[in-house]
Each structure stands twice: as C-alpha cells, then as structure tokens.
C-alpha cells in the first residue's frame, strides 16, 4: 500500500499543475464571490395617517434593527406598484394603530420584514397600550422595560435550529465553504478515478497479480484521493485564515474536523464513478456535470435558505454538500454544538458507506 502512495506522490511532484490549479481556482472563486454581497433588500414604506417626523422615527428604528433590509420612504402608489410588479418583496403602510403589510407571497425576506415590524412597531404599541390602561407615563414604562431587558429575572438559553427563521448569512463564509467543497469534488473524483485509467493502461493487472491484496490496492487509491482532497481544503482554509483574517467563528479546528465525513463521501463517490464509468471521455463529461449539479442543489453557490421550491429542497436532502454546508455554516455562524452536528454527520457517513460499498462491489464484478 505504501508503494502505491509513494508512486502516486512521486508522480504528483513531477506534475503538480492540475492540483495546484484546482487549489488556485478555489481561492480565486472564493475571493471573488466572497467580496460581492447580496444586494440590500429595499422595502418601500408609506403612510397617509402619520406625520413626517413620526414616519422618520419609525424608519430610523426599523433600519437600526435589521441591517439586511433598507426601509425607505416612498409614495403610496409607487410602493404598491413596486410590489405588484415584483420589484419589491413587500411594502409597508404605517398607520396610527400599527402597520399594514403588502406582499404577493411569503418568502424568507418577508418573514424578516415582519419580524422587524413586530419588534419595532409592535413593541411601541404595547408600551402605549400599557400607558393608556395604567395611566403611568410612557417614559417610565419604557425605562422599566429597558432595565428588565438589561437585568433579566431569568436567563433563557436559545438553541439555534436550522429553520429559515434563524437564517444568518455571511457572504465570505458562504463562498469560502461553497467554493472549497465544490472544487474539491473535482480533485478527489479525478484522483480516485485513476483506478479506471490504470485498468485501461494495464497497470491494474500488474498490481492484481502482485503480492498486494486487492483490498489494499483499493485502500491505497482511496486513501490517496482522500488525502489529496483534505490537504486542498486545509490549504484553502488556512490561506483564508492567515491572509484574509477569516476567523471561522473561532472554531477552525472543528471546521477541519467536520470536513472529514464530506471528503469521505466524495472519495466514495469517486469509487462509484470508477465502477460505472467506462472511459476517460465519459468521466470528463460526468464529473463536471455531477459537481456543478451538486453545488447548485446543495447550496454551494447560494444559501439553501433562499430556495423556496419544495422539489429542489427535497433533492438537496440527497446531496452530500447540503449536509457539509449545514455543518460548517452551523458551526461558524450559529455556534452549533455536537448535538446539532450529529445528524448531518451521520447522514454523510451513511452516504459514504453506501457509495463505497456499491462502487467496490460493482468494480469487482466487472472488468473495465
């Protein structure tokens, strides 16, 4: 087994171009995508009942609360027209009693808009109602509420869940993880499918009749593919940490650890491809198709939280990248603990075992 690793590493040293190119592409794409930001969501706000200064006061509070959304004063007709034409996700009409929300459908962003409105306007209304009922001055109630918020009687620990309501987005994290996991698919599958190349070249026959067992030969190539993929991830993440100061939510070690099940699944996927694909030409067609589809469906290019199509979300459940992204983003952005990581990690390991089992079995049964 060591002999095979020795030979493969020697060959890599002589021709490192493809490997370095993949690593470089990962870096470039992650940098390029990481610096672009999702455009700020603009929500038109209008009122026919409130005074200008009242509207401005509410707008100020709304914009302070939610930085991903810009609440902007607009003309009533124009605001409604923007919603009708789909140029705005929603529009808000401020009334004396609260607000009215205009929208054509429920999306992640309309949920965020609603949350902001409830927090800001709902909170104000509640204080006003208390003042009206109890006769206590509004400022005093406000003061008491503020002091209670600062010194709560009970401390509530909120456990993050994976629902869209907890959607936290960071473009750099999304692109670094997404692009790295995407490009590593190419590195690993092309490395593992060298088995196919070696069968075609007759080297495999020589290996089989040597004193090394077939199991060890498979293991050597799979191990090599695994290490190549993992080292690439390690390189890219380390470079982002050192050069761009990305802190990985203070969980760099955990992030690296969590990449192991994903790299394992992709190695297993490479084994499966080696078993089913018959020629390098087929491989050149299948690998990019598979990698791009998996990246799109698994949330490497954009967060799955913004996908609303149920069919696509269902398919995503069968894509390893979905679970890898969930784990990595969960740890970095939402402070996931092992309890939350257990399920995606388990799914990845099961996927890996199934793919590896099928791949090795099919490869054994047929002479490629």
């Amino acid at each position: 087994m060591r002999a095979i690793l020795w030979a493969e590493i020697r060959q890599l040293r002589r021709q490192p171009g493809m490997y370095l190119l993949m690593t470089l592409l990962t870096l470039l794409f992650a940098i390029a995508f990481g610096q672009s930001t999702i455009s700020e969501l603009v929500i038109p706000v209008f009122s026919e009942e409130l005074q200008v200064d009242q509207v401005e006061e509410v707008l100020k509070k709304l914009n302070q609360r939610e930085e991903r959304i810009l609440f902007q004063w607009a003309d009533a007709e124009e605001a409604k027209e923007q919603v009708d034409s789909g140029r705005a996700e929603a529009a808000v009409e401020l009334t004396e009693k609260g607000y009215r929300l205009y929208m054509t459908g429920q999306t992640l962003y309309t949920s965020l808009v609603e949350q902001s409105l409830v927090q800001v306007i709902g909170h104000e209304n509640w204080i006003n109602t208390l003042a009206d009922i109890g006769g206590e001055p509004r400022e005093k109630i406000q003061e008491r509420v503020q002091s209670t918020i600062e010194k709560p009687i009970l401390n509530l620990q909120i456990t993050p869940s994976s629902t869209t309501a907890d959607f936290i987005y960071d473009q750099q994290v999304q692109s670094v993880f997404g692009m790295t996991l995407f490009f590593v698919i190419f590195t690993i599958t092309y490395t593992v499918t060298r088995i196919l190349e070696q069968k075609r070249e007759g080297i495999w026959d020589r290996l089989i009749i040597s004193s090394v067992t077939k199991g060890k030969i498979f293991l050597a190539y799979l191990l090599y593919g695994f290490v190549m993929g993992y080292v690439q991830i390690l390189l890219v993440f380390s470079l982002f940490r050192v050069l761009f100061g990305m802190d990985f939510g203070g969980a760099f070690g955990t992030v690296l650890l969590l990449c192991i099940p994903y790299v394992f699944v992709i190695t297993a996927l490479g084994t499966c491809l080696s078993a089913f694909v018959r020629s390098p030409q087929q491989l050149d067609a299948v690998i990019p198709l598979l990698a791009v589809s998996m990246a799109m469906l698994g949330g490497a290019y954009w967060p799955l939280e913004i996908v609303t199509n149920d069919i696509l979300l269902f398919i995503a459940k069968f894509i390893p990248l979905t679970y890898a992204m969930e784990m990595l983003k969960g740890v970095v952005l939402k402070g996931y603990g092992w309890q939350e990581l257990f399920y995606p990690m388990g799914v990845l390991l099961v996927m890996g075992v199934i793919l590896m089992g099928v791949g090795i079995n099919v490869m054994e049964r047929r002479k490629v």
């Binding site: 095979i4 020795w6 060959q11 002589r14 070249e201 007759g202 009749i209 040597s210 002479k367």
Partner: protein, 310 residues
C-alpha cells in the same frame, strides 16, 4: 506445470473463448497464435487469474487456479499487451515500485533492478523518465517489470507490438536466454508468425475462440506435408483472373496480398501449366514463381482460409 481444461468465457452472447484445452510443461516456450479477435488475450487473462472463466478449469501444479489464484500469482510474471508503465516515473522508479509491491527488501531490490535493467539494455537510461523513451525502450521496460521478482512462469501478450526490429530482436533474445539459462516457462502470444516460429517449442493456433490446431512446429507443418505452397508474383491482379484460379481442379486454397498470390495445392498435382495458360488468357504477366515448404502462416491459411493479419 499448467493445464487448461474446457476453458470458456462468454461476454453476454459473445463466446470469446469456447472450451479450449492446453497444457504447458516446466521450461517450455509455448506459443498461442491467432489473428486479432481470436480470443488469445481473453484466454491469457483467464490463465493469469485476471478474469474469472465462465466455465472450465485451470490447474497449476495440480491445484485449481480458479479457486485459489495466489498459488500461481506468486510465481507469475505478466507482460501485458498495453505498456503498463508509469510514464512520469523513471525506469529505475518504475522498477523500484513493482519491486516494493513484491515485497523485495531494499538491497535485494536494488540489485535485482540493476540486473534486469542490464538484461534488457536499459541500464544507462535508468534515470530517464519513461515518457522520454522510444516505443522499443518502453516495451523492453514492460518486459523488465515482469521479470523483477524472478518468476518461474511468464505470460507475454504480444510483447513486441509496434516496435523497431532492434528492440524486437533484443526482446526475443532475452526471452530465449531466460528460458535456456533459468528454465523459465513462457506462454507467448503473437500474431507475428516468425516470432512464434523462432521462439516456441510448441504452438497452439486459435481462431474464433477455439484451438484449431496444436503441436510442435514440425507436427503442425506435417499437416501440410501432402501439400505444396506456391507463391506467384504477377504484374497485375484482376477479378476474372481470380475467378479462373478458383476453377483450377485440386486447388485447396489461395490468398492474395498485393501482387503476390499464395496457392496451396496437393503435392502430387502440377498446376503450373494451367496457371500460365490462365495468366496468358487474362493478359497477366507472371514475374516469378516460388514453390515453398509450408510455414505456420500457410498452415493457418489452410486451417481457416484467412491470413493471420486479416
């Protein structure tokens, strides 16, 4: 040493090898001869334990190789038809790699690598990357890799395809030398008749998945002992002339290669007069006539009606 009984391999409906029987004694060079697609490579893959047979048995020193391939693999060297080499490694590194696979310790490995590279004439090129080698040098290294662990039995599948005459001679001489000096047993496949005639003690002729003849060169040639091979060179060949040729009574078979027509006729039959008359009537000039003793190529033609390179 090795016995093959009713060996059969089907790929779906295609019978690549159909119930062949053969045996090889220790120290023999046995040739497996046949045109492309005859089933030689499939037969060899089964004997080398690389492909399981659909039916039949392979016995090595009395033990089934199908059930336990290790008994053969430990003493087997394989020279595949493909150049099974790492092009990005040097000749020395290639040899070291396969030496490690066979578990040779460093000192023994280094010594063996040097010896074998000298044997195949690549000692001076040991540090050059294989991708810079000529076709002949790659073929010689392909052979060297199979000899590294001192196998008792070597299977060579078309080891001289597409190389220069010098490298071909080198390979043939090496095989012969190993056989004579080390009593190495060799199963050699080729569609180059002259190689098989030169090297092999016994020959099996395969066609369309079957063994159609076997024996020593002399035994095989005896098949045609009652026949003559006549090679006729003409200045042109046309269809009506060939039709006329088929009408000559007693002509067993013929083949045309450019302007050379090979005829197989019963020894007692004299057809030259008729042949000249036929040529004259079709205005074809005969430039030479050669009456030859039969070759393996003639035997193959006689048995199958085709030449080996068809």
């Amino acid at each position: 040493m090795l016995e093959v009984e009713e060996l059969t391999k089907h790929f779906n409906d295609v019978k690549a090898v159909d119930g062949i029987n053969l045996f090889i004694e220790q120290g023999e060079i046995v040739g497996l001869l046949g045109p492309n697609g005859a089933g030689k490579s499939t037969a060899i893959s089964m004997i080398a334990t690389l492909v399981p047979p659909t039916k039949g048995e392979i016995l090595f020193q009395g033990k089934s190789v199908v059930d336990s391939p290790e008994s053969l693999r430990n003493v087997l060297g394989l020279v595949p038809q493909e150049l099974a080499l790492y092009l990005e490694l040097s000749a020395w590194e290639n040899m070291q790699f396969f030496g490690r696979l066979y578990g040779l310790k460093k000192n023994e490995r280094d010594q063996r690598v040097r010896e074998i590279l000298r044997l195949v004439g690549l000692e001076e090129k040991k540090d050059a990357l294989v991708k810079t080698f000529s076709g002949g040098m790659k073929r010689r290294l392909n052979l060297a890799l199979a000899l590294l662990h001192q196998p008792r039995f070597v299977i060579m599948d078309e080891p001289t395809v597409g190389i220069d005459p010098q490298s071909r001679n080198h390979i043939l001489e090496t095989v012969r030398r190993l056989n004579r000096e080390q009593n190495m047993t060799v199963l050699y496949t080729s569609h180059y008749m002259e190689e098989v005639e030169y090297l092999c003690d016994r020959i099996y002729i395969m066609d369309q998945g079957h063994i159609i003849a076997s024996g020593t060169k002399e035994e095989l040639k005896a098949i045609l002992s009652s026949e003559n091979t006549i090679e006729v060179k003409v200045d042109t060949v046309n269809h009506s002339f060939l039709e006329g040729l088929e009408q000559i009574p007693g002509l067993r078979s013929y083949s045309v290669e450019g302007k050379l027509i090979t005829l197989i006729v019963p020894r007692e039959m004299h057809i030259l007069g008729e042949l000249f008359d036929l040529a004259r009537s079709h205005e074809i000039g005969i430039t030479s006539v050669d009456i030859k003793t039969p070759t393996l190529e003639d035997i193959f033609l006689h048995l199958t009606g085709r030449t080996l390179r068809d």
